[in-house]
Every structure is written in structure tokens, then in C-alpha cells.
Symmetry: C2
Amino acid sequence: MISAGPTARRRAALRALLPAVDGGAGVDALLVSDLVNIRYLTGFTGSNAALLVHADGDAASRFCTDGRYRTQAAAQVPDLETVIDRASALALAAQVFAPGVRRLGFESDAVTVDAHDALAAAAEGVALHRAPGLVQRLRAVKDAGEVEALRRACAVGDAALADLLAAGGLRAGRTEREVAHDLEERMRAHGADGPAFATILAAGAHSAVPHHRPTDTELRRGDLVKLDFGALVEGYHSDMTRTVVLGPAAGWQRELHALVAQAQAAGRAALAPGAETRAVDAAARGVVERAGRGEEFVHGLGHGVGLQIHEAPALGKTATDVLAAGMVVTVEPGVYEAGRGGVRIEDTLVVHDDGPELLTHTARELLEV
Amino acid sequence: MISAGPTARRRAALRALLPAVDGGAGVDALLVSDLVNIRYLTGFTGSNAALLVHADGDAASRFCTDGRYRTQAAAQVPDLETVIDRASALALAAQVFAPGVRRLGFESDAVTVDAHDALAAAAEGVALHRAPGLVQRLRAVKDAGEVEALRRACAVGDAALADLLAAGGLRAGRTEREVAHDLEERMRAHGADGPAFATILAAGAHSAVPHHRPTDTELRRGDLVKLDFGALVEGYHSDMTRTVVLGPAAGWQRELHALVAQAQAAGRAALAPGAETRAVDAAARGVVERAGRGEEFVHGLGHGVGLQIHEAPALGKTATDVLAAGMVVTVEPGVYEAGRGGVRIEDTLVVHDDGPELLTHTARELLEV
């Protein structure tokens, strides 16, 4: 007997969640329409697909995509019966009669109101039930292969930043845009398929803008320079932020950096299976608040990362998630002094029973370049 | 009196469509939640926003985003009252009581079932009405500023390809991935903010795969090489495909290219205000079908292009759109001989009363490099 691959194991894990849908009434099958969830459950990377996960098993389940992806689907999803149809989700909904589905779950957090209308028409006589977030919940806990992919993506980010620094790429006179592009090219040279997201490169007062987009502003001696970037490797995203000073740091820069570093260490130390993510956020935020600067920490502490750059769990003041072993999250407090400068320090870590494991390894001490 | 800017004019045009919503019953306001539509109507480029377009005018309308974008919103959307709230769409829905909205339209093609549930709860007592595609319909017809942005984006694509060819960048021994990246870098050098989409670079038998992603396969002498690429400039996307041969073309390559070129010319000639897009598709497809190769033309003829790479109108066998002056569309027939090679030729054009205007200018004759 062939041992099940990771996607078959994920579909089996999803099946185990189906009886709890609709307040415990359960569903006979789940129609998955979110493309990232479909990639997770099948390995398919095309831009149009739907997946019917039947409670009875893979033999009763169906994958659907359109004619452009016939060859790709055969290669990536060899273990599921594939239907070729342009209107993927509707085609599968119409098919549910065959396997005898009476109660069909759908991703109410991904399906639009119009798409739901069309589904209801295509699956006439079948009852549609809201089933949001099931696959996202599974995706939050990474399997060994996923952690390996994230480890490689994080290593690419570390290597690219080391190269940039070694080459003197962070220097006065270069623009934010040039440095951001340079860093992205170095990630590519180390094997990234591309940046994990649009690189944030923010110099001087721009460093106080949390999500600043690079401009033609030149870096100047004395600037705080915030670099928030990541690599995309095999569909997985890395995420890291470092804030450095061009030249010797001023006292206020050194103090700001030390405060954020202390908050970040507190946040990392709070990562443990069973911890409420709002408590992890509070561990870091408390450090900033006790310094009287809570108002300048304007965002959540972090987020899960994987096939998407932002995914479950959320780490924030109002978050309701609970950590589990195998979750991969960022810890990224920031303190932003409007008009002057800000510091953010971010790492990506795996939650383990015996303490968190850093996947990003670049030194966290204040760097004066 | 200050003359209205383009975004105010677009909001006024949207207002004119509100009485027709819900079969002519009309709505008092439309809640816009699609971020591209919001960019079109306000100029805002952030990642979280909602817009309430009130039938009574801009004074009664509201824009909403979260705290990260306070400064950006003030700069990009100075002409609308702005609400800062993390749950943008819900905050605006809850506000509709104030301006006395009883009937609220929402984008049922963008709002998920769960988001609709939350909206209904936040706007208790207000009737929600499906209003899909209104802004997309406006966006299909470009104003002068948009055509200029598309013209610049297309010029960047032309210039980058000319540079690649002049530099001998298309040669045997380079990989698909290298050439694709080279082309993207050249677009950036000409002022693109990035590629308009992941460049398709397909050599040899790969050229027969319509949406092939570049691999480490090396280009070889005698290969058909398909390049489908575009530049992103000020939020607008260009789109062009050329298929060349490395070295002297074989007879079958020359014939295939001539057939597609003839189909493409027929498609371009059929672009006129009032033309049904399915008829434009048929004009090009007929050429391929009469050559007995209709089965190998496996996709639609083209699509609108603007703030998104694919937008209204659709040009295809089952499309129901009608062309109007000012629409910007691609014309891109392809014939794909599985396992051997394919040819696609694509231009971006503006529909005018006195005939279509090409925005992409690279020669369409078969190039042997």
C-alpha cells in the first residue's frame, strides 16, 4: 500500500472537520474555491480551480479546472478524478448529485454573494451550508515539508541581506527604490522565485511610516533605515525586518532600537503551545507601554506566514487564536515617532513545545553601517 | 468654481447608474468594497478601504480606511470626508443611518457571503441590494488620462523588447527564466514599476502551452519563442505577445505564424464602437477555423486592460459585451500544436469611431533572431 502524500493527508484532516460544520449537523462534502486552499490540498498552482472534498474519501472527491491547465492538472493532481470545465466551482456543484450529496459546505469567507447565487442554482435541491476558515485552520499548523520550505525562504532572506551589506549596498546617496530592488535581486540570486511581497525600504522620517513604499528619496548619513522584506520559495513566504543606522547612531535612535529589541525578545519568549495570541501580543506591547510609548506601536505584533504572507494565526490586541506546536509566526513590534523615525524588528519563528525556533538568523543588535 | 478632477467625474458617472439598480427601484447609496474600484473612484492605493457613494453627491459620501493610511488618505483623497476605522466596510455601513440611507447597494460580485452577513448586521434596518459590476462597466471606457497611462505602459513594453533584441538577449543557451527576468529588468529600466503580470517566456514545445511559466529550459536554435509580457505604469497594465524563431524559420513555423497574423489582423479590423465582442472574436476565429485549426485556438480573443490586467470587456465565443469608443482591449489569437509549438500575437488597442489605435508598436512580422 502506498503511503499517503502530504496533500492526501491534508484532505483526510479536512474530512475530520466536516462533522462539526453547521453547528454539528455536518456536511456530506465541502466545496473548496479559495485557490490557496486548493493549492494546499492538492498541489495545484493554476489560476482557476475548484475542489470537492467528499466525506467518503478521495475516490468520491473531484478536482476541476479549465482546458488551459489539463496537462498541469494531470501532473500536479494525479490522485484525484479531474473534471475539465471553465466554470470550475459550478461544474463541481452540479456534479454533487452523483455522489449523493445532500448537505454541501462552502467557503462563505471566500465565495461572493453572486457566486453563492450561481452555486445554489447549479446545485438545486442540495442545501448549502456556511463553512468558513476550515482549511485556514489546518494551514496554520505546518507539516515538516512546509517548515523546510519556510526555512529555505528565510535563509534566502538572510543571505540576501548579508550580501547587500557586504557589497556596501546600504549607503548614503542611493535611493530607497534602488536599495529595495537590489535586495530583491539578491534574493532572486539566492534562489527566490521573487519577493514575498513588495519590499518596504524606508529611510529617515519615512521609517516612521509602518508600510512605506520605496521612493526616489536618497538615503542620508544618520538615517534610520528600515528594511522589511522576504523571499518566495516553492510558494512559501519569508518575512523579516531589520532597522539599521547609516553611520554612528544618535542617542534617541539607540534608545528606540533597544526598546523595540526588548519588546521583540519578550514577544518571542511568550511563544508557546497553548498561549493565547493576544497574551503574546501583550507581552511585547507591555514593554513598550511601560516605557510610555504604547501609542506609537500602532499595529499588531505579528501573523502566521506560509502559502500567504499573512495567514492564521493573528497576534494582536483583539486576536482570539491560540498557539499550537508547528505554527509559524512573525514577531514584529515597532515604535514609530512621526516625522522623525521608527524602528521595527521582525523574525519568523516556529512554535515548539520546547521553545520557539528562529527561522530568520540575521543579528538583531543595532547595526551601524 | 474648481473644475472636477477625474475621480469626482467618475463618482458622478457612477451616481447616474444608481437609479437602475434592483430592476429600476434604485438605491440611496452604493457601498464600494472592491479595492481596484475604490482606486478608480478616489485615487487611493492602500490595501484596506471602503467607499460610500451617496446619490446626493460627494458631500454626503464617505471614504474609510484604517490608521496606517491616515496620511496617505489625506493626500490621495482630499475631496471626501474620511472615516478612520479598521473594519472599513462595516464602519461605513453602520454610518449609513446618518445620511438617511434606506436602500443600500453593495457589490455582490466582490462581497463574500460572510461579509454580507456582517454588513447586514451593521446596517440593521437598511435594505441591502445587489449591485454588481457598476464600476467595472465605467472602467471599461477609459478617459484621456487613462489612455495616456496605458500608452506609456505599452511604450515601455515596446522599448524593453527592442532593447532585449538589440542586446542579443534572445539567444540559444539562455534559459526561459533568464530571458524573462532580463525582459522584466529592461521594463523597469524604462520606468515600469514592475511587470504587469508574471512574464510568459515559452521556448520550443513549451510555446504550445498558452500560459506556460518560465523554467530552466534552455532556448535552442530553431525554437519558436513566445514572449507574453507587459509593464505596470501608474497602476495601468500593458499587454503584448510576440512569437519569434531562433534562427531561420521552418516551413511549418512560417505557416503557423502567417495564419495567426492573418487572424489577428481580422480581429483588429473588427474593433469598432457598437460591435459585439463575440463578433470580433468570430472574425479572428473564423480565419483559424477555415484553415481547419479551430480546435487549436483554445482561448478567447482578448480582454479589456487597465487598472487590472484582465477587465471588462471580454472578447470571446460566449461574451456578451458591446464595444464602445474609448475601450482599451487586447487582440491575441493563438494556435497551439501540442508537443511541437504554438504562436500567439497580441496587441493592445484603443477603440475609436474612426478605427482602432494600436498602443503596442513592435512589428508583427515573423522575426528570425
